[in-house]
């Protein structure tokens, strides 16, 4: 396995975000006769007060279909997240965990059983525009809705968000 991506931020910060594009050029993992792109992340040495969210980003028409596993220092699988562990957390279809002692790497590959499935959703929000009368400017809020249908894919973006609830500690 090649190209391990470090999750250790340059300095302690509240949230450290790492995005990885999964493309046809990504490294490929072959297991049980099935090929899938993958990326490996090295968990930070200092795991205290860290919480990790990792998954596929909701893009305009696709979501990378994540299959997420935690490995030890020798690359052995310690934990495989099950389908019921995944949630839509805002713009990321993801799992969330706190790294434990002995856990060293995060392997993200494609869940071939999820690829091709669709996720239909409705998003509501408010747009704000500004109108100037010359004397003053006022904000006009307008309600908006959009429907989207996204397909789980072998390609897309994997996002890791490393949250640190105590950045006063050393690195």
């Amino acid at each position: 396995m090649a190209g391990i991506v470090s999750l250790t931020p340059p300095k302690e910060q509240v949230v450290h975000v790492v995005d990885s594009a999964m493309t046809p050029m990504s490294n490929c993992l072959v297991r049980a006769g099935t090929q899938a792109p993958y990326v490996i992340y090295a968990l930070p040495d200092d795991m205290d007060d860290k919480t990790i969210i990792v998954g596929g980003v909701l893009e305009a028409s696709r979501i990378f279909a994540p299959l997420i596993e935690i490995l030890d220092a020798s690359g052995q699988v310690l934990k495989t997240f099950q389908p019921e562990d995944y949630y839509y957390r805002g713009p990321v279809y993801s799992v969330q965990f706190r790294p434990q002692f002995g856990q060293r790497y995060l392997l993200v590959t494609a869940d071939t059983t999820l690829v091709g499935q669709s996720y239909d959703s409705i998003q509501v929000g408010v747009n704000t525009s500004y109108v100037s009368t010359g004397l003053y400017t006022s904000a006009i809020n307008t309600g908006v809705e959009s429907r989207s249908s996204r397909t789980f894919s072998y390609e897309g973006v994997v996002r890791v968000m490393l949250n640190d609830t105590d950045i006063k500690e050393g690195t």
Binding site: V14, Q96, A139, N141, T142, G143, N163
Partner: protein, 232 residues
């Protein structure tokens, strides 16, 4: 209300440069929890029926005052319509949550009836009745939300859940679950609205109380199911 909803959405949206919401994931193996006492008073008294970017809210103080009256009147009308069919949202949600927790292998009990002073987690918990943990569910808002003038009303639930160990008060899990959020939220479990429940306007909301209640119950069930899943 509009300021509160937009501020909540904005706080979670721009959180990357401030303090993002960070949930506490549950680790069942280390938590060693087998029994849960569900804390009473999960829901506020009345559902909302709120138009976020309403026409009136865009016209200064006078508009805001008129708007507040329209919003309150709509909320009361929805509340009264639900009362005509004796719809008790809290009992339904608590029953669903208890059922789902039992499916996940927990022994479930309930703490004595007590009204919350605020829509916040309790700081002091009542007698657990032998349970090893408390599940504190606080629904801030439930009911219907329209994003603005001309947009349909859809079911909405905004809840936070926390599991606390009885013996030492340790927080074992905490999450926010939002069904049909207004705007994009980070770090929070989000559930899209069920497209089967959409009401064009106030008249359509009030037309059929059974359907009005069904939309709310459906959203509350999704939140209850998600809360239980977070503890599996």
């Amino acid at each position: 209300m509009i300021k509160k909803m937009l501020a909540a959405a904005a706080a979670m949206t721009v959180a990357a440069c401030a303090s993002p919401y960070v949930a506490t994931p549950y680790d069942r193996a280390s938590a060693q929890v087998s029994s849960i006492a569900m804390v009473d008073d999960a829901l506020p008294e009345k559902p909302i029926a709120y138009e976020v970017a309403s026409m009136g809210s865009n016209f200064g103080l006078i508009g805001a005052l008129v708007d507040a009256g329209i919003q309150a009147e709509r909320q009361n009308a929805v509340h009264n319509a639900l009362q005509t069919i004796d719809f008790d949202a809290e009992s339904r949600m608590e029953a669903r949550l208890a059922q789902e927790l039992a499916i996940h292998g927990y022994t479930v009990s309930r703490t004595p009836d007590r009204t919350r002073e605020k829509r916040e987690f309790l700081t002091v918990y009542p007698e657990a009745g032998g349970a090893s943990s408390y599940l504190d569910v606080v629904v801030s808002n439930y009911g219907y939300v329209s994003s603005g003038f001309g947009q349909p009303f859809r079911p909405h639930v905004d809840a936070k859940v926390k599991l606390v160990r009885v013996s030492d008060g340790a927080k074992l899990m905490e999450n926010i679950i939002v069904s049909n959020p207004v705007g994009q939220v980070q770090g929070v479990v989000t559930l899209p609205p069920n497209p089967n429940y959409a009401f064009k306007n106030r008249s359509e909301l009030l037309e059929n109380p059974e359907r009005l209640a069904a939309g709310i119950e459906d959203a509350l069930n999704q939140v209850a199911d998600t809360a239980a899943r977070l503890l599996q």
